[in-house]
Symmetry: C2
Subunit: 216 residues, 2 copies
């Protein structure tokens, strides 16, 4: 399965691409903003395509052509300007969803935020609320499609070493989770159709990632 | 017909409420943020309800209870912080749409931006694009509902005196239009069901507003 990684140059993206090297049935295509980001991937012989989430849908669809799945793990993050929140986290995400349709890609995995419900918007701090709004509408857009989607809602992301174990369910208690383990959750989701049309929160835990996905 | 005006204290809102005084079949309910905005409306014996677009949907639905229509003419404007663009122009608008459903209000008139198409997002300047994104998704949300909606896309708004004449069609050449004439277009839309499930751009022109709406 050929997988376009949107946000390949991010921390989760780099873990994901690296782990995919050991999964011969999966082939990563790293979507990067410019050639300057290419070195990391070229060293691993990973194909790169240059496209930007502010490009139009057609350009992104061209970058995705030939892939069987899209993983969206890009993010302006909650601390960038709110203009980027709208243009990247919401509209950029929606363009990759529309690009999937244009390129006849059925499988789509979205890395969302821990809680993107309407209640979460209302309860968010003033500075965090716009980010939650953006992720809320991107998730809503994806749910309304016919794509075989998975929506992953990670807890508080850390740079801790991966444990390969998590707790995953529709709702779980908010907790930390290593970015590297989220990459493993993405991998397991790509490899297990039990994750299709599922949406779950995930934090550090005691269940092996593959088992956690199987039991969703 | 009892009409909740969201953004009553804005410039278009104030024109609209004022003109409604001469239309005995229409009764305005001015949604305002706080008591300090009430004077203008009390002097005209117009009912006010206090609610905020950052309130939750239930609170807005309560403010709308008993009304037959909602007019959304609120706006953070393109020049406020982009956090407010997300929270007011997108999420605030969506909450009023959801509030309409909760309060069993079928009729909804949205004052959008001149061009909220995907092409307009791509062509917008960096500073304007987030606002177009927000209006794009609010319009999309409304289109996907079962509400009897009208989406009005005004040209460049001015404070010129109203002429009572406009050009209105699916697409028209970009031009100015007085805010006061947009208020007249809203009035005519409320009074003429020819506007239901229509969406049109409107600029200054030579056609009487009532005729322009009838001929949509």
């Amino acid at each position: 399965m050929k997988v376009l990684i949107v946000g390949a140059n991010g921390q989760i993206g780099k873990h994901l691409v690296t782990y995919m090297q050991d999964h011969p049935t999966l082939e990563a295509v790293a979507m990067i903003r410019d050639e300057a980001q290419a070195d990391f991937f070229k060293k691993m012989n990973v194909q790169t395509v240059i496209a930007n989430l502010e490009d139009d849908t057609g350009t992104i669809a061209k970058a995705a052509a030939g892939c069987d799945a899209i993983v969206f793990t890009a993010g302006s993050g909650p601390h960038t300007g709110k203009d980027k929140t709208l243009l990247v986290d919401l509209d950029g995400a929606v363009k990759t969803i529309e690009a999937a349709k244009l390129a006849n890609i059925e499988r789509y995995i979205m890395i969302s935020s821990f809680d993107t419900t309407r209640a979460a918007i209302q309860n968010a701090s003033e500075s965090f609320a716009p980010y939650v709004v953006a992720k809320h509408y991107a998730d809503e857009w994806l749910r309304a499609t016919d794509l075989k989607y998975t929506i992953i809602h990670p807890g508080l992301l850390t740079n801790d070493e991966p444990t390969g174990k998590v707790t995953a369910a529709t709702t779980v208690e908010r907790d930390e989770v290593p970015r590297a383990d989220i990459a493993k959750v993405i991998l397991a989701s790509l490899e297990n159709d039990a994750s299709i049309h599922k949406e779950f929160q995930v934090v550090r835990g005691e269940t092996a990632v593959d088992t956690a996905i199987q039991e969703l």
